[in-house]
Amino acid sequence: MSDQQSLNSVDMLLNMGPQHPSTHGVFRMVLQIDGERVLDVEPYIGYLHRGSEKLSEGEQYAQIITLFDRLDYLANFNNELVICMTVEKLMGVEVPERAEYIRVILCELNRIASHFLFYGTMGMDAGASTPILYGFRDREKIQSLFESVSGARMMHNYFKIGGIKADLPSDFFEKIQWLLNEIKQGVDQADSLLSFNEIFLNRTRNIGIINSEDALDFGLTGPNLRASGVPYDIRKNDPYSIYDRFSFDIPIGDRGDVWDRYFVRIQEIRESVKIIEQALKQIPDGEITANVRRIARPPKGDIFVHAENPRGDFGVYLVSDGSDKPYRLKIRPPSFCSLMALKHMMRNAYVSDAVMILGSIDIVLGEVDR
């Protein structure tokens, strides 16, 4: 018997978060580590629980939109679109063309903003300090365009049931041309600064791998699923709004590692720019809102509507009892499912990888905890 066998060794439990700088909000994970190796990870959520689902039952439909702004606070327009579409579909409202185009332009811009922030935090997790400032620079330009449109940088409350609240400001089309140029330059800069950096490649390739079957089993959606090689994008597979009118590509990775998840998002920025350019060419004049009653009263029934958010498949299940408030409202957040695959991805990772993997699935805790 050697001394080593008689010694009683215990694995260390390392508590990461909720105050840790790279847990992206208030998220806690308890890592069981042996030296630098992660043996097990236990995620703890619920620090940002606000009870949005229950709160919705006490609010009128127009008021619920403000709650949806605060779910995925990096993709406010996308959230608003989903709840508006849900109610409109249940009521059978036809949204005017111009409103649909404006919605799509704003949603795609919001996707770009969200992915730019992802690019920044990914660099931050990898230890580079510059990407976050470049990412924020480009995101800020988009935010100020949003401010000129809706009056608020983040919590817009701009979409309404049946259309949008107000038409675009007169200088919008000038500004957006300039903005699209800036975005294209920003993405190219991201590629040359971080995407093909040898150290970054070393840190991200073949790390946190999840294959396509596991990804489907865990219910991953959005860029995380596409990085694993599954061609699934609701904008193509189950087109909503007017997405069937645009031609754009869906980037697909093949290994499902951290780099694939990162690069799928970088490519998606370029595809979103394509969509916006086409929408700007096609946008018609006309009404911006359908003729609906101010207090919406959908008929009795239930409906499920989902859409492609920057983080994946964001769905809303709505049960209406015919009154002006929902009977029950269930939100299907994509980040929550991504988070559940965390344990699977972190097998045999290092402590440094754990941070990268958590960053690569791009969670927003406002949506996970609801």
Partner: protein
């Protein structure tokens, strides 16, 4: 030693201490401004002209902050660690010459100067491990252990490259090493050596991309996580002095110190001082530039990089240099061999990492264009 000599020595030491403090203050300001330029922001610009007084304001703020010692910390070790980290980098400076004509501008220029410098740099590691252990914090312990592995590994290439310089100039006296480069700096004979020394040096002081033991986004500051106020500032003082030391050593060993390459000047102590300082700050600028550009490596990759790439190369460097000196082959051959090896390594690294990623990116684009709706999902 007469009383006058002792008095002179004390004045010299006080001047050295003051000079180094000024260097640290200027470096913190410079780092923030340069990083600001890289990141398209301004940096400190409120306190004094161009924010020049910002470091002083920071120093006052740090010293007046409450110095917290955690309840469960090992008080003695916790208290002692900053001092162990802080003293060696200062002591090293006793022997580093900055300029010279008939006399040398150093507190005491030793004949075994280079040996002394290398011997003392290792001591700081002890302090980091002490800080990590004494804090009684899991992040700090992880950081302390990382620092041991990292700093001991990178000590070896640093020493081996210094040895190949010694072989070329056949002395350990730093002043003489510099004076042998009065026409051609060793950077031209040993470009690979310069590269290895610089990389190992950055790893030695734990700056980006080797800032693994105090990785902010992973272990939140590593050994320093529990420190605050004056104790914390002492760690950072030491880190900046070490950075500057590496820059000055690179200048002295490879860039010709107070000589201008290819021009032989009348030796002037004031001019020499400024030439050395400018060269050293230029090297520091490159370190800051790295900080603005690179992500951080992972601990196992860092160790593999040291043991699989840097250490074999530095040993090869010693063997090649000594062979060339022993057989009296012209030094131009050494320089050519060095450049060839450097290019080969660069090519291999590019082929191993960047090319496959670019191919994968192309593949991703090709797949995106051939998107097909899946069946059965």
């Amino acid at each position: 030693m007469s009383i006058l000599e002792l008095f002179l020595l004390q004045i010299k030491i006080v001047l050295l201490f003051g000079g180094l403090t000024i260097v640290v203050l200027s470096l913190t300001w410079l780092e923030r401004r340069v990083l600001g330029k890289i990141q398209r922001r301004i940096g400190p610009n409120r306190v004094g002209p161009q924010g020049l007084l910002q470091p002083i304001a920071d120093a006052i703020k740090l010293v007046t902050k409450e110095d917290i010692i955690p309840e469960s910390a090992d008080k003695l070790i916790y208290w002692l660690a900053p001092i162990v980290v802080f003293v060696p980098p200062f002591v090293i400076w006793v022997t580093i010459p900055i300029a010279s004509n008939t006399t040398t501008l150093a507190v005491n220029n030793m004949h075994l100067g280079l040996l002394f410098v290398i011997a003392l740099t290792v001591i700081s590691i002890t302090g980091l491990v002490m800080a990590g252990w004494g804090s009684a914090n899991k992040y700090a312990i992880l950081g302390g252990l990382r620092s041991t592995a990292q700093l001991i590994s990178y000590e070896i290439p640093l020493i081996m490259v210094a040895i190949s310089v010694l072989i070329l100039c056949q002395t350990t006296d730093l002043k003489e090493i510099v004076d042998k480069q009065n026409i051609i700096p060793y950077a031209l004979y040993l470009p690979l050596g310069l590269l290895l020394f610089f990389i190992a040096g950055i790893a030695e002081v734990g700056r980006v991309p080797f800032d693994i033991y105090h990785a902010e986004s992973e272990i939140v500051g590593g050994p320093f996580v529990e420190y605050s106020g004056a104790h914390w500032s002492v760690f950072y003082l030491a880190e900046y002095i070490q950075t500057f030391t590496i820059a000055v050593l690179t200048t002295l060993l490879f860039l010709g110190g107070w000589h201008i390459p290819f021009i032989s000047l009348e030796e002037n102590i004031v001019l020499g001082f400024f030439i050395t300082i400018i060269k050293a700050y230029a090297v520091v600028m490159i370190i800051f530039w790295f900080r603005g550009t690179f992500p951080r490596m992972r601990i196992d990759q860092l160790m593999a990089f040291a043991w699989k790439i840097l250490i074999p190369l530095s040993f090869a460097n010693v063997v090649i240099s000594s062979g060339i000196i022993f057989y009296d082959i012209p030094l131009i051959v050494l320089s050519i061999i060095n450049i060839l090896i450097t290019l080969a390594i660069g090519y291999v690294l590019y082929n191993k990492f960047t090319t496959p990623a670019k191919i994968d990116a192309e593949e991703m684009l090709r797949k995106a264009r051939n998107y097909k709706l899946p069946e059965g999902i």
